[in-house]
Every structure is written in C-alpha cells, then in structure tokens.
Symmetry: C2
Subunit: 215 residues, 2 copies
DNA sequence: TAGATTGTTAATCGATTAACAATC
DNA sequence: TAGATTGTTAATCGATTAACAATC
C-alpha cells in the first residue's frame, strides 16, 4: 500500500543519463532495431553496463536475462519517468536572441513540450508573431498564466531582469522555471528551477583546459 | 617535492560552485565590500558554510579566523584556479541562431575568453562579419587553427553535423570542445568536452515537474 | 578575554562499481 | 546444456556534513 504512494525520487545523475538513453534509443528504433542489451548501450555511450542496468531499474524497466530489453518498452518507461507524457506547456519571457532561438527551435515536440506564448516589455516586439507564437505585453503574464493554468515559465531576458521576472512568475503560480540567464535567481523551494548557465559551462571548459596544462 | 608536481584535480561539483562564488564575489567587490565570511556567502547562495570553506580550501584560498576572507584575494585565487587568467581564444563553427547568439554575447570578456573567428559552409554567410568577427569557409578551419595555435573549438551547428565537425576539430589539434548541439559526440579521451545540452536541461525540468505531481 | 570564524580531521551519506545468483 | 545477460545485494569510492581545535 505504502509502496505505490512512495515518491520515486530519481537521483540527478541518473536522470541526466536517462535523457541520454532516451535520445540514443529513439535513434535505434528509427534504425528498426528492436532488442538491446546493457552491454550494447554501454559500448555505444561509453558507460558501464552495470550503471545502465541500475539506471534502467530505477526508471522501472524490465528486461529478460540473455535477451536484454525491448527498445519500445524501454522508451515507454523512459517517456513516463521523464515526464514527456504530460502536457508540457510553457510561457517564455524575453524575446531577445536566446528567446527567439527557443521560439524557433524544432526539437521540443519530441518531449510534448510547447511554448504557447511569449512576453516582453518592448513595444516593438509586442504583438509580433514568431514561428506562430504571439508576443504579449509582460503585464498580461499573470492573468494568462492563471487562465490557461500554465505551469512552466522560461526566463530568457537579460540577467538584470531575471529576478524580477522570477518574482512575477512565482506570484502567477508558475511551478517550474527554466532559467536561461546567468543570474542565480532566488525562489521559494517548492518551485522547481533548472538553469542553463552558459557562463558556468564555459567556465568548466576553461578550468579543465587550464588544469590539463598544469599536468 | 612531489607535492607541487601533483595535479590539483578539482571535483566537478566544486568547480561548478567556484564559478558561482566568482560571480557572486565580483558583484560584492563592485559594491565596495572588502571582507567576507563563509557564513555570509552561505546565507546569500543558500549553501552551507562548511561546504564553502571546503571549496575555497580546494581552490587554495587562505582566510583569517574571526575575520574571514579578503574578496580581492579570493577573486585572484578563483581567477587562476578557474583558468580565467589564460589566453582563452576560440573558433566557432556554425553561424546559425545559436552561433550568432554567442558571437554577439557580451559576457565572455570577464573570463578573458574571445571568439576570434567563425566558420560555416553556407556561401551566404562566408565573408560576412558579425559583431566584428569574420566568418570563414569551414575548409579553412584546420589551417587557421594550426597557424594561430587555437585550442578551443565551439560547435554550434545542427546536431547532424556535430560529429563531423568534431572530427575536423580533433584532426586540427583542438584541445577542448564546447558542444552546443544535443548530439553526444565521440572524442578521444585526451580532448576536453563540455556540453550545453538544451534538451537534457529541458528534460530535467519536465521530469522534476512530473515527479512533483506524483507526490 | 570571549566569541566568531577558519582549517582540518573524522563521520556520514549517496552514488558507483563489484560480485554473484537467477534465468532465458 | 552452456553462456550471456538481468536483477539484486554487498563493497567501494568520493563528496558532503559534522566536530572540534586553533586563532584572530
């Protein structure tokens, strides 16, 4: 009884790898391959088979000894543990370079993810349509979020406005924020935050390079 | 003797936090604050003071009991352990949306990072100049990398070309690759790879959101 | 001096890896 | 049947947290 009420908390490193497996397996399925073993996946993705077995187990996959896993079944399991089977509708704030990039991005459909509207405070951008997505005045954000019951907000403004937009999102009952600025926004901890921090990523690269030369 | 020859290998989680501290402390310095304690940093960044003390120790910082750390000294230490004090010159391949975003990005100077040239295979883009950076034909890549001794390559093409460009980079003696596609590129393991995988990041958000609603 | 904070060693925690029985 | 692969429990490893002495 307690069992299926339990929260299945997937560890972050596992979660990251699960997304990898998903991409990898989608690819395999297109090549009309039906069965696969951890050994195969491990070789191709440069991981260990034990780790993959463990990850798949956490996601809830079932395989058959000697035979392996059915790719279609694996994709189903991953699909649901990664939350791709929900209605993933989002609003984007900030129609600058990064914002426009996302509005034009084709790869989101795979995850059932859709940006339904964009917001900005620049009169030159408001009421324009980008890739079929209309840009609204930021002051309409709260009302539209509540009426459309949107849960996901994307912050693609410049860093200076990030916190202010985050506050508006919190007030509008947004549940999860995808933050594309390099500002470390402050949120109540019942709200999910995922950052794409280009500076952090670049910094990782530079420091690894620098450490390499110290060897 | 063996001591200073030893490779100071900073753990990845620490490295990520160090970049955070760097941004945070730069900010503090602008506000003309000179001293800071782990307790202060912990409160502001929502971490524990023990962890910060450990991280700073790994980076090689020295503080004074009761007083704390001198911000300027901390920034110096971080600057060098994060590799910002090297000459960080890069070539970018792929002048699409993401590529142009990076060419126009102002925040890199802080890290002494500079994109010196861009490359594409589209005749409409070749010989154009974006934000002062010239776009060359991709077939000039290897020669220019070798002549200018460039170590960092950025892949901002579409995912389909990512592996092919990576191979060209390896052959050209690039040491570190910043991969902005969601393709899982395959590299010899003496080459540094850092990915900005928007799909992975989005997927993290969706699965966290989905897990939240299962509670 | 007293108290806050650093520096460092030890304990804990969680993720990865190893080992091995079960099984197709 | 034999061998490869899954599933699961135990061992290892590394990062985080706790504890506490040193000290400004």
């Amino acid at each position: 009884m307690a069992d299926n009420l339990e929260i299945k908390k997937i560890p972050e490193p596992t979660l990251k790898r699960l997304t990898l497996y998903y991409q990898y397996l989608s690819n395999k399925l297109e090549q009309e391959i039906e069965q696969i073993s951890c050994t195969d996946i491990a070789r191709d993705l440069d991981l260990t088979s034990i780790q993959i077995r463990k990850d798949l187990q956490i996601a809830g996959a079932k395989g058959k000894p000697k035979i392996g896993y059915t790719i279609e079944e694996l994709l189903d399991v991953l699909n649901s543990s990664l939350g791709y089977d929900n209605i993933n509708e989002a609003f984007l704030v900030g129609v600058g370079n990064f914002g426009q990039l996302l509005l034009n991005y084709k790869g989101f459909k795979e995850y059932n993810f859709e940006i339904l509207a964009a917001f900005d405070n620049d009169a030159n951008k408001i009421d324009k349509t980008i890739n079929g997505i209309k840009v609204f005045d930021i002051n309409k954000f709260e009302d539209l979020v509540k009426r459309m019951k949107i849960k996901i907000g994307i912050i693609a403004t410049n860093s200076d406005s990030a916190q202010q937009i985050a506050d508006i999102m919190v007030q509008s009952d947004i549940k999860a924020i995808w933050n594309l600025t390099h500002f470390n926004i402050d949120l109540p901890n019942n709200i999910i935050r995922v950052d794409v921090n280009l500076s952090e990523s670049l910094s990782m690269l530079l420091s690894k390079l620098s450490n390499m030369y110290e060897k």
